[in-house]
């Protein structure tokens, strides 16, 4: 059992948990993730690690209510426990002094971009961050990103905060203004990462994205998380989760992620019709999508 030391909504439908997990806290590096199983009949899902505190033995995860399991998790509170949490999984981000790095976070993806941006800053890079959300409430970790970035550009889809537009608009503006960019890191919804890859492909800028495909064990056994990289199967849990964006077959990724859409919808509906789901009730109860650039 993994105890929740602290839980708090940081945006509508997005909750930060501080969880007691000393082994994971000690080993976690930027770019890695955990897999959790909340209850006995539950599924295993991969989740973003925002940061960890090795001294206190705690790990922060940031969770957006999307399907049944994330809704269930976000109904838990300080003092509750999670049945299983395993990690840190995946390869850590490559940290080096590349020069100028643009770190892009879309919605809850910002929580995954943050630790890598921090490490890249410490490695001597000039870090320009672009963070976006569908609306003001869904721009998360702005303060934290400002602390680790030389500049932070913010967008909202609806213009309710900062500049109206998409993160890719800001990226294009940076490129058009003649800024030399050595590396782009983008974490967010697939359509956003794909759009970023299209922008940087033309400029031949090295671009890393963090993928979150369907995954079960997360330890290099089941092969469910296979992604097509340069026409070859690679596995997000052991070869990723970060990949060179220009080599990814995004069509296959999107197609495979939709494989269980009907079952996922049914699970969520069933969950919402259960009376105990009401205990999840907070002003941030409703599921919300995160920013997505859909062409």
């Amino acid at each position: 059992m993994f105890k929740i030391v602290h839980a708090q909504f940081i945006a509508p439908g997005i909750k930060r948990f501080i969880i007691e997990a000393p082994r994971i806290a000690r080993k976690q590096r930027p770019g890695q993730f955990v897999i959790v199983r909340i209850v006995d009949h539950g599924e295993r899902i991969p989740l973003t690690i925002e940061k960890s505190n090795p001294q206190k033995g705690t790990v922060n995860i940031v969770v957006q209510s999307i399907g049944k399991t994330t809704h269930l998790l976000n109904s838990l509170d300080t003092g509750d426990s999670i049945l299983d949490m395993v990690g840190p999984l995946g390869k850590p981000s490559q940290i080096a002094n590349f020069g100028t790095v643009v770190a892009i976070g879309g919605g809850v993806g910002t929580a995954m971009a943050y630790p890598t941006a921090l490490a890249l800053k410490r490695a001597g890079n000039r870090v320009i961050s672009i963070i976006g959300g569908r609306s003001k409430d869904l721009v998360i970790l702005e303060k934290e990103m400002r602390e680790v970035s030389d500049a932070v550009l913010v967008t909202t889809d609806d213009g309710s905060y900062a500049d109206q537009g998409l993160v890719t608009d800001k990226l294009r503006q940076l490129i058009d203004s003649g800024t030399t960019i050595n590396l782009v890191l983008a974490v967010g919804p697939i359509p956003m990462m794909r759009a970023v890859a299209e922008v940087t492909r033309r400029q031949n800028i090295r671009t890393i994205v963090s993928l979150n495909p369907i995954m079960i064990d997360g330890t290099g056994m089941c092969g469910g998380c296979r992604v097509l990289i340069d026409g070859r199967s690679e596995f997000a849990c052991v070869d990723g989760p970060e990949f060179e964006a220009h080599r990814i077959d995004f069509d296959i990724l999107v197609q495979r992620n939709a494989m269980y859409r009907e079952a996922e919808r049914r699970s969520l509906e069933d969950y919402r019709s259960e009376p105990e789901a009401k205990k999840a009730g907070t002003k941030f109860d409703d599921a919300v999508g995160c920013t997505a650039e859909v062409k």
Binding site: R23, I24, K27, R37, H41, G42, E43, R44, K68, T69, L83, D84, M85, V86, G87, P88, L89, I216, D217, T219, G220, M221, C222, G223, G224, R226, L228, S233, F235, V238, D249, I252, Q255, R256, A258, M259, Y260, A263, E264, R266, S267, D270
Partner: protein, 483 residues
């Protein structure tokens, strides 16, 4: 060393023993079981077990024991069954095999003890697996933790990485020698491939839980949710957590794919993923359990491969409601690596075997889902490196087989996590850990390895044999400090 002579209480002269036919394993009717995940075999009654045990001709030099990868004293435990001392028989097996209820169900006995049984030359071999299962189940029903005698503690600590058959065997042997044994498991349940790979209808999960509980009672400690290499490294275990030796039994790795067009279509599974969803995650009980699986009802499904994993997968697909269930295997039935009993059971349940057949492309329905497999017929040519006759494609033999789901069960490759995070641990060119075949010693002092992470995909009992050899060598290393 000659086996301890035991006086037989078998009242029958050999010629009468030879007249008794091999006792059939009672099983659920094929028509009924093909739609359920409940266990197929029902187990011997005491009468059946006695009748089968009476067949043993008690060879002076038991070839069955020689054929067993863990050296179970078959003749002696069968004699104890004849005596009616079932707990004694179980204890006799446990001297060499800490997982009798599991091997009694899943071991390919025809390749080991039963394959080497002298009775086979005269007709049918002894039902050694069935008898092993009988005494193990009897022991479980009459289990009392108080009867477990614990060895004097040696003060030495051993870490076991992975709780599959090799790890559990090493753990059981080492704890009986008085060492403190701590097993790390990456998943949330103990048992490794026994839990995620082998379906309920062949090995009920409760059997594994019972055997693990027995090991807990023996003093073995278990810790789930630890991926050694990621959560903690081998070096940290030895330098910071005080382990004197480590056994790596991390098992089969990532599934292999065929590299043919269409393999990424929805509806194409690896056997590992498909079986993990069903066995570990209970997807066949969706929505009571949250893990989903493709809806198989009324669909045509094929597995590609001819091993036990392939048969486990296709028989699971049938139980999920598949309309047609095919095995596509590129060689002939004679080369199929699966247990004979599983092939028979699968046929009885209505699974169609398309041998000398291999898919060369998966075809899409235009919406990203599998629609059919383009198959090619094969002929057998000269033997290849594996000693089996090589399948050679027959040109012009292509045909399309309509399919909604395909499960690829053609083997696995090495899981890289431990190797890539343990400096100085030598691997072969395929990425498997190099270990001495008799001591299971690796290139790192104090570190041993065995099972699929050393040999590549093999069987439960071969992994257990490796765990047993490793335990022997670990014990010697811990008592002599000589590497």
């Amino acid at each position: 060393m000659p086996a301890t002579p035991t006086k037989s209480k078998n009242p029958l002269p050999n010629r009468d023993r030879l007249k008794i036919p091999r006792q059939h394993m009672p099983e659920r009717p094929a028509g009924e079981r093909a739609h359920q995940f409940t266990e197929v075999n029902l187990g011997y009654s005491a009468d059946l077990a006695r009748q089968e045990a009476l067949r043993c001709i008690e060879c002076a030099k038991p070839t069955c024991t020689e054929g067993c990868p863990v050296g179970v004293k078959v003749k002696e435990f069968i004699q104890l069954i004849v005596d009616g001392d079932y707990l004694g028989a179980a204890a006799k097996i446990r001297e060499d095999n800490v997982l009798p209820a599991i091997t009694g169900r899943v071991c390919p006995q025809e390749d080991h003890c039963e394959g080497d049984c002298l009775l086979k030359k005269k007709g049918e071999s002894m039902g050694i697996g069935y008898l092993e299962r009988f005494v193990a189940d009897y022991e479980q029903e009459h289990f009392d933790a108080k009867n477990i005698i614990k060895a004097t503690p040696t003060g030495k600590k051993v870490a076991i990485v992975g709780s599959g058959p090799s790890g559990l065997t090493a753990a059981g042997d080492l704890v009986q020698k008085g060492h403190q044994v701590h097993v790390f498991e990456a998943l949330h349940e103990i048992g490794g491939v026994l839990v995620y790979g082998i379906p309920e209808f062949r090995l009920p999960k409760q059997i594994i839980r019972d055997q693990v509980d027995y090991m807990r009672a023996m003093g073995v400690e278990f810790e789930t949710d630890v991926v050694v290499g990621r959560t903690v490294t081998i070096d940290e275990l030895m330098e910071e957590e005080g382990f004197d030796a480590v056994f790596i039994g991390t098992g089969a790795g990532l599934p292999q794919f065929m590299g043919i067009p269409g393999e990424h279509l929805n509806g194409v599974y690896s056997a590992n993923e498909f079986l993990t969803r069903i066995n570990l995650m209970h997807a066949y009980e969706f929505p009571r359990y949250d893990e989903p699986i493709v809806d198989f009802r009324g669909k045509d499904v094929a597995v590609i491969g001819g091993g036990n994993t392939a048969l486990d997968a296709i028989r699971s697909a049938l139980r999920l409601g598949a309309r047609k269930a095919y095995v596509l295997y590129r060689r002939s039935e004679a080369e199929m690596p699966a247990r004979i009993e599983e092939v028979q059971h699968a046929k009885e349940e209505g699974i169609e075997f398309h041998v000398l057949t291999a898919p060369i492309e998966f075809l899409s329905d235009g919406k990203g889902w599998l629609h059919a497999a383009r198959c090619q017929k094969m002929a057998l040519g000269e033997p290849d490196a594996s000693g089996r006759r090589r399948p050679v494609p027959i040109t012009g033999s292509e045909y399309d087989l309509p399919l909604s789901v395909a499960v690829i069960a053609i083997g696995t490759s090495a899981n890289p996590i431990v190797q890539s995070t343990t400096p100085g641990l030598n691997t072969n060119k395929k990425g498997y850990i190099e270990a001495d075949p008799t001591t299971q010693k690796t290139s790192r002092s104090g570190v041993f390895a065995g099972g699929d992470i050393v040999t590549g995909s093999a069987t439960v009992i071969l992994a257990m044999g490796a765990g047993r050899r490793a335990a022997e060598a670990i014990h010697e290393y811990l008592t002599t400090s000589q590497w």
